[in-house]
Each structure stands twice: as structure tokens, then as C-alpha cells.
Amino acid sequence: MKKRVIPVLLGAVLAASACLMTACGGASANELTLVASTSTKEYIQKVCDAYNAQDPEVPVRPLYNANQDGFISAKKAPDLIFTNNLDAENKYHYVLEDLSPYIEAENFDTSIYYEDVIDSLYTSDGTIRGLPVTCNLSLLYYNKTMFDEYNEGKPKSEQLGYPDETWTLADFADACEKLTIKSGAGVAQYGAELTDNWWGEWLIYVRSYGGDFMNEDETDITLDSEAAKQGFEFMYDLLLSGHATRVANQFSAGEAAMLMGGHVGNWLSYNALEGFEWDVAPLPTLNKGERLATSEITADVYGISNTSRHKDAAWDFLKFLTGYEGQKIINETVSSVSCLKQIGQEKMQTERNERPNPQNLEAIYDVQLNYVKPLPTYRYFRTMHDNYVAPCVTRLFEGQYASAGSSAAEQVEAMVAEACADARNFMRNPS
């Protein structure tokens, strides 16, 4: 009897702890659940409230800051799973319901979304695992005050207009030079802030010259193509010219006049800066009037868990969330890019000077959203980029490939050779 006391005690404590760990959260019998983060909490709550106000058969309950992966692993997946277009292809592919049968059964019109956004959600096996909520795309960000200050006192012919859809990369480089203000041996203001520690900027230049990260069937890295090298060279030349800086956050600090690429997620912080007058323009093209799909597109999406007991109800809510009513609430609550054409059009109805920043919504909805291209869906894309490509790119911009008398082109050549050799070696046995 005595000998049993200790194991029983230990067992009880273990069992109690295990119950405590698994008992919280998860789906219950007659409600839909979805996970929301701190950044999406506000609009998700509003959308859920609006949906529940319609008195649906199965109401929806958001789970804030909950561990979605933990729920899924514990076989308690929320009915609606939050992800993005890349993870819908890879990470969550096996737990997300294919939405094609729902779309076909109802003849659901997916053309209500921007075409490239919805296209980016179709996975390599032709299925669609989610519908878009918000999206991020690359744009040219600029500080209006710095442009105005440059133009002050100059005759019209010498003035520098705000960036627009006619700008080429040459125009961008020229503006960088003009907007750079030297101060003694240093620089008081740079033309642009460069970002080289992820693909956000250099991939734009690479694509502008006709190159890309990988080939079409995603079986090989193509950053050593001539086009890609020219893209890298353009960006490197910009740095070497002294008209751009690698120092982070110089655009928002008011130390750099432009930022190529950027992220929609930064709009909130930009708008929180007092007196910071900024706007956006479509990405400059290589040749005037020849626009290529150079911007990346990443969509935040919700999909339906394939273990959900309320799949039809989840589909109804998904349509509400990503449809007009849900999108209207979202876009009235946060500053973001809508994936829904109708919302985009409505936003542009407001007089330009009455819009909050960015005011040039035409640059987004009329131009750039039509020239986007998703990142590779290759399962190990992120690992390959982070481990083998990004370090080499950073070293290039640090000047680590520079040897006595070597030109920018030679340094770029050395960089892509190393990055691609390492990446190809990795692709032979990715793990």
C-alpha cells in the first residue's frame, strides 16, 4: 500500500498538469473558432461581431494570441486557420480544406478579388486553400517634404516631380543623386534607404532586368543569370555612388528621401510619426512604359480546417470575412491593402487630398496590384534564401567581395557564384 503512494501521487500531479495544459481553448460544439493575433485582433473582433449580429446558425468566436499550431497538433484545430499564400502551399497544406468544391458548387465569383492576389493562392497541385484578407506588395515610398524642399526656389524645369508610374530605374537613380545632401565629409540626407538583408528590395531590381529567384518550375536557382546580375549591379552601384544608405529605418527617421519595396505593415508606424508626409508610387520600370511584374505579393489568408465539424458554416463566415462586408470593416479599421476590387475602387472615390497616407491609392490599385508575382512556392525557399543567399548578398553590400581593382560587376559575379553554388548544393539534398 505504502509503495503505491508515491507513484499515485506523481501520476496525479502529472495528469493534473497535462489536463491543465490541454484543456484551454480549442473548438467547442456549436461555434466556429479562429485564431487572431494582437495586430489583427481589432478588426477580427469587429468582423466577428458583425457576423454574429446576423444571428447565424453557428456563431464565430475568435481566439486571441492562441497557439494555432499547438491546437492543430492537439487535434483541436480552429475551424478557420490563419496563414499566408506561402504557408498555405507548404506548412498548412495538409490541414487546410481545398476550397475548389465550395467555389464550384456555388459558382463563387473569385474575380471579385484582384486577379494576381487570388492566383497566388492556388497551390502547385491546382487547389486553393484559403481566401485573402489583406495583402502586402512592393511600392516606391517617398518623403514628400524632401522633394518639396529640393524644389524650393528652383525654376520649374529643374524641379523634381514626385515619383509616378512613368518613372524608370534611371529616373530613380537620378532622383537619389539630386536628393542627396552632402555635409562636410559626411552626408546629411540620402536619396534612398537600401534594404539588403532580405529579398524585399533586390528582388525588384532582379525582376526589373528580367531575372528571378528561381526558374518557372522551381527546380533551380537563377540568381546567376545575366539579368539577375544586372539587377544586383544596379543596386550595388546605387550604394557605391553614395546616394543611398544601408542603414536601417533612415526613411522613417527622415534621413532618406525614398525607400524601394517597403512593407504595407509599416504604414501604421509611418502615420504615427508626426509631420511625416509620405506617399507611394508604382515601382520604377527598367524601360519607359514597359512594366513587368516586379513586385512580390504576399496575402494573409484564412482557410478552413479539414477537421472542422462545421465546414459549411466556416465557408459562410469565410465569404463574409473576405467579402465586401468583412473587407469594408477591415479597411475602415486598419490601414492596409484590400484584396477586394470593390473596396479598392471605393477607396479611390475619396478626393486624393482627403485620404490618409498613402494618398496615391491609384498607384496601388490601378497599377502595382496588376504587376505582382508571388515568391517561389518551393518548400525550402525560405531556408535556401536565409542560409545561402542572404548572407552572400549582405557580404556584397558590405564590400566583402571587393578585392584590389575589382569592379562592381566582378564583385556581383563572385557573390552570385558563391550563393548559387551553395544553394544548388543544398537543393540536391534539402533538409
Binding site: K91, R382, D386, N387, A390, P391, T394, R395, S431
Partner: protein, 300 residues
């Protein structure tokens, strides 16, 4: 020999003993041993962050992948560099500081507080401070060095590790405190006798101080080894999950995390953890063997 029968009071006390022991033991089992066993299990499977994928037995493939991964070796190399530079120097610095504040010099107590303050400050606050000092572009120290023609900073890949090593020299609080306490335990009479015999300060240090504090010295060496090889927070705070710039701060523990979490490869990450555990076990074992030989247990 027949065991004596416990009295009622003794039986009650034993029960209470095990009851109190059960709670922390359950915590240990739940949060340390169980995850450790799961890690061992996962190391032989295809466990990944790709949720919903069926778990399959993978044999030793994860271990083969670890051995064949060039970044594993690079990150291990960086860890070794960090360990053999920051470890010994911080040990020496902490011993010197402990020797200084253990003296009877006026004001020594105030210095004790100053040095210990660094130990009390949270790592992220210190890292933020160091980042401001050693930012290649605008850091106070980096700017001074730049004026002298030296490019140095945590965000410049050739010098990033040197920056972190440099900052680790100043985080010696705990080791210094242990040395300090050990030094207080050395009888003053030994020094007086040695002085009368004409022993120099250096001889007194080598022949009296070192043997007297040798148990603490070896414990500090052990702590330093473990600290250095487990270095994660400082690298993460300086270089983020990628050990930026250009992976120059990608030490083994950081790469382990990146492989398992960001790379969604729990199997390989677990295999890395298992191999690293045995690697550290060997190092600790060597230290224990050396301590058996060199620690003076008869001192008193």
C-alpha cells in the same frame, strides 16, 4: 540485517517528504525530462512544422543530415571561437575584479556594487546598450574607431563576433561573486606566514590563493563552458534569428532553433540537440576529470 520498523511519526514524515518532492519532480518530468525524451524520439522521425503530415520513422537520416550540413560545422566553429575567447577572458577578468574588491582598500565595497550591477541588469537591456555603442554607423565607440580608420561594429559581419565577445567580458557578475566569496574564506594567517617566509605576491597567489579557491575555480570553468556553448540570448539579441549580419553570429544554438522552428524541421533540430548534448557532456566530463586531479579538497 533486518530494517528497523519506522514509527508512525517517521512514516508521516516520509510521506510528507515525498509529497513535497513530488511537485518539483513533476515539474522536472513535465518540462525537462519529458521534452528531452520527446526530442530523442523526434530525432529519429520526420517530425516537422508542416502540420498534418503523418509522423514516420526516419532512422538515422536526421543525424546524417546534421553531419552533412555545412552550416552546422560553421556554426559549431563560431561557437568554439566564442567559447575559447569570451570564456577564459571573462574568467580572468572576474578573478582579477574579485581579488581587487576583496582587498581592504577603502571604497572597495562601492566597486563591488558597481560590478554586480551588470549582473543584475537584464541581458536585453545590456544588449540594447551595447548595440548603441557598437553600431557601425552611429555607435559611440564604433564612430570613434571609424575616425581612426577602423571599421568595427556588431552590424558589420567581419567584426560582429568580436563585438559580442567584447561585450561578454563585462558580464562577469556571478563568477566574480563566487570568486569573491571563495577569497573571503582563505585564512589571512596563511598569507601572513608566507609573507614572513619571504614569498612574493605572485608566489602567494599561485601557492595559496589558487589552491584555496580551486573548487570554485573549476565550478566557474564549468559554468563558463556551459554558458559559452549555450550562448543564445546574446547572439539572438544582436543578430536576430538569422545571426545577422551574413550569419556571422549564427552559433550552434541559434542554428538549432532556426532549423527546428523557422525551418519547420523538428526532426533535424532534435538530432542537432542530441548530438550537441553529447558534445557538451564530453566537455563537462573532461572538466570533471581535470577537477578531480587539480582541485585541492584537503584545503582547510
Amino acid at each position: 540485517m533486518q530494517r528497523r520498523k519506522l514509527t508512525h511519526a517517521e512514516r508521516r514524515e516520509t510521506k510528507l517528504f515525498f509529497l513535497f518532492l513530488a511537485v518539483p519532480l513533476a515539474g522536472l518530468v513535465l518540462f525537462y525530462y519529458l521534452p528531452a525524451v520527446m526530442t530523442l524520439f523526434q530525432a529519429f522521425t520526420n517530425a516537422s512544422g508542416y502540420v498534418g503530415v503523418e509522423l514516420e520513422w526516419n532512422g538515422i537520416q536526421n543525424f546524417v543530415n546534421v553531419v552533412n550540413d555545412p552550416i552546422v560545422w560553421e556554426s559549431l566553429g563560431r561557437t568554439l571561437v566564442y567559447a575559447v575567447t569570451s570564456g577564459p577572458v571573462s574568467l580572468i577578468v572576474s578573478l582579477i575584479v574579485a581579488l581587487l574588491i576583496a582587498t581592504d582598500v577603502r571604497g572597495a565595497k562601492k566597486f563591488r556594487f558597481v560590478y554586480l550591477l551588470v549582473f543584475v541588469l537584464p541581458g536585453f537591456a545590456l544588449a540594447a546598450l551595447y548595440k548603441n555603442l557598437f553600431d557601425e554607423n552611429y555607435g559611440l565607440i564604433s564612430s570613434l574607431l571609424r575616425d581612426m580608420g577602423i571599421r568595427f561594429g556588431y552590424n558589420y559581419s567581419p567584426t560582429a563576433m568580436a563585438t559580442v565577445i567584447l561585450t561578454s567580458f563585462f558580464t562577469f557578475g556571478l563568477k566574480m561573486l563566487l570568486f569573491y566569496v571563495a577569497l573571503l574564506g582563505v585564512p589571512v594567517s596563511y598569507y601572513e606566514a608566507a609573507e614572513l617566509e619571504g614569498a612574493s605576491k605572485w608566489t602567494r597567489f599561485i601557492k595559496i590563493t589558487i589552491p584555496a579557491i580551486s573548487p570554485v575555480l573549476f565550478m566557474n570553468i564549468l559554468l563558463t563552458i556551459i554558458d559559452a556553448f549555450k550562448a543564445f540570448d546574446i547572439m539572438f539579441l544582436f543578430g536576430g534569428e538569422n545571426g545577422d549580419p551574413a550569419q556571422s553570429l549564427m552559433v550552434f544554438s541559434l542554428y538549432l532553433r532556426k532549423t527546428a522552428i523557422t525551418g519547420n524541421n523538428y526532426g533535424k533540430g532534435s538530432a542537432m540537440a542530441i548530438l550537441y548534448f553529447f558534445f557538451l557532456l564530453i566537455l563537462v566530463g573532461i572538466n570533471m576529470l581535470l577537477s578531480k586531479k587539480y582541485v585541492n579538497k584537503d584545503w582547510d
